[in-house]
């Protein structure tokens, strides 16, 4: 009986593993097959030879280096921006018993229900009035804004778990509020803050629709916008597409691998308290 349950458990774990990995395996294999072998029958699950032809074509046929650079600039600056801003507001919400604290949290939570497309054109109007269309800065600002509500909620959750008595002791010792925050509270919440950062990086790296709306020249495209344009672009088949997809997927996977523990703690204890 015991062996039976153990066997079932291992079997179930294997099934989950295979199910989770198949899409990744398939897209990587496709990208390494080379343009011809992709479209041959019968389908080969192990390529006869590894070819980097698709990647070569991706970087010569399209400006993928530029897209990658754009994505990196926008995601990193937005993640830093959102972290910097919500580090303070999360702390303030957590520590200060102002009357509309509850409403503030609800207002932040409510933003999660708003479809991006609903605010897109109004935003476009605002930014075009000040001549800020098709600029990486604009996208970074929009992404910072996009990440602020959830980051603030997460940050508040992290600060809630730091006992107030620690800061009170520091204040008695003559520290100012801001000093207490930087010397005592922030070092204790570093894992949480890195979770917020990684969460923002993942989400901004993956964002498609705002970028499509605001970035209309090839030199300003981010990776998702580029992939979207590949769909209808002549001369681009599944060879280039699969190589592009692998490169689009890798960075967030790496971030996730490193930050998984913190993100999990951040999401579970900060945002959704059980």
């Amino acid at each position: 009986m015991k062996i039976m349950t153990k066997f079932m458990k291992v079997l179930a774990l294997m099934v989950y593993l295979v199910f989770a990995l198949i899409p990744l395996y398939w897209i990587i294999i496709t990208s390494l097959k080379g343009p011809k072998e992709i479209y041959t029958f019968p389908i080969r699950y192990l390529p006869t030879s590894i070819s980097l032809q698709s990647y070569k074509r991706l970087f010569t046929f399209t400006n993928f280096t530029i897209y990658f650079r754009n994505s990196l600039i926008v995601s990193l600056s937005a993640s830093f921006g959102a972290l910097l801003i919500t580090m303070f507001s999360g702390y303030a919400i957590s520590r200060y018993g102002f009357k509309f604290k509850k409403y503030m949290l609800l207002a932040l939570f409510f933003t999660q229900m708003i479809p991006t497309f609903m605010i897109m054109v109004p935003l476009y109007t605002i930014f075009s009035k000040v001549g800020m269309i098709n600029k990486l800065t604009t996208l970074a600002i929009l992404y910072t804004n996009m990440m602020i509500p959830f980051s603030a909620i997460m940050a508040k959750g992290f600060f809630d778990r730091i006992p107030i008595s620690l800061e009170e002791a520091a204040l008695i010792d003559g520290c100012s509020r801001v000093q207490a925050l930087f010397k005592i509270v922030i070092p204790l919440t570093l894992p949480g803050l890195s979770a917020i950062f990684s969460f923002s990086f993942v989400n901004t790296w993956n964002e498609l629709f705002l970028a499509v709306m605001f970035m209309n020249s090839d030199a300003k495209m981010t990776i998702p916008v580029a992939l979207n344009s590949f769909i209808s672009k002549a001369g681009i088949g599944w060879d280039i597409m699969s190589a592009g997809l692998v490169i689009a997927l890798l960075p967030t996977m790496v971030v996730f691998a490193f930050a998984q523990r913190y993100i999990v703690a951040g999401l579970t204890k900060g945002a959704v308290k059980g």
């Binding site: 303070f88 479809p115 605002i126």
Partner: protein
């Protein structure tokens, strides 16, 4: 001590305040107004109020049957959520007890969580491809089908194909959340139940589930909202087609804006989405008697 430093607190909170108001709430108000206007992106010189006409136009659209879109939205949310939850919960239960290599294993099964829905939609579109897709190939090899199925081009299969992709994508979210909750259940509870002779199922239903109920409620609530507002996978795989068969409210909104440049009707659909979500959130919280959404 709470009110002494109020000035500093206001300074700390102001950037968040300004950002949320200026770049989210002001645009959303404008979006509200646009929903009642004739607002075509190619004819911006002729913007004027038209009452509820955008809504009627959306509801009575003969090319994109609205009831079908509502049904698709319902199926998209409910089926995806159900299987994401069940399979995610199952995975969390499997991972509850430590075993050798659990860290690496969870990294390998959780990674879809970090991926772009749009990119994943494209990957699965390639897998479901009617000619060169691996899913057709495997089904043929094991003899389940004899001729290729147009998973994304046949209205009979398209919705189930995009939902399958969404299920795959969403399992890690529930597994991660529920695993953390499971690990917070005090082991003494299980020990006591074992002394009373409770079996695994008994323990699951009378200890585990009641104990992690708040997490279950919060995660399903958040996830339902999120799935309803999540057009990326469908957009990448079918764009709502073929013949409206995978069109949900969120993709119809994109369709109206991208293909018809009709931002008025697009915003009207946006309002419908928000109204449904708000009603849903209120009812859900009332029924599950969770007085305050704890964040």
């Amino acid at each position: 001590m709470k009110n002494k430093n109020s000035k500093i607190f206001w300074i700390m909170i102001t950037p968040t305040f300004i950002s949320v108001i200026l770049l989210t709430y002001v645009p959303i108000l404008k979006g509200f107004i646009i929903a009642f206007q004739n607002y075509n992106l190619f004819n911006l010189s002729n913007v004027h109020f038209i009452g509820f006409k955008n809504f009627w136009a959306v509801f009575s659209d003969t090319n994109f049957n609205f009831l079908r879109i509502l049904l698709n939205t319902f199926l998209w949310v409910v089926i995806s959520l159900f299987f994401q939850f069940i399979l995610g919960f199952g995975l969390a239960l499997l991972l509850k007890k430590p075993f050798k290599g659990r860290g690496v294993y969870s990294g390998l099964v959780f990674y879809p969580w970090a991926l772009s829905g749009f990119a994943i939609g494209l990957v699965w579109a390639w897998m479901f491809n009617g000619q060169f897709g691996m899913i057709n190939d495997i089904l043929k090899r094991i003899g389940l089908i004899h001729r290729n199925i147009g998973f994304l081009s046949d209205p009979k299969y398209a919705l189930i194909s995009v939902i399958t992709t969404n299920i795959w994508y969403g399992i890690p979210f529930f597994a991660i959340m529920l695993l953390a909750a499971l690990q917070s259940v005090p082991t003494e509870l299980y020990e006591a139940a074992e002394i009373d002779g409770a079996g695994s199922f008994r323990k699951l239903f009378s200890i585990t589930i009641p104990y992690i109920k708040p997490t279950i409620i919060n995660t399903t609530l958040l996830r339902a909202i999120w799935i309803m507002n999540f057009p990326e996978i469908i957009y990448a795989m079918t764009s709502g087609g073929p013949a409206n068969s995978t069109n949900i409210l969120a993709t119809q909104m994109i369709n109206k804006i991208y293909n018809f440049y009709d931002y008025g009707q697009g915003s009207a659909i946006g309002l419908v989405i928000m109204a449904i979500l708000l009603t849903y959130a209120i009812i859900y919280l009332k029924v599950t008697s969770l007085k305050e959404l704890e964040l």
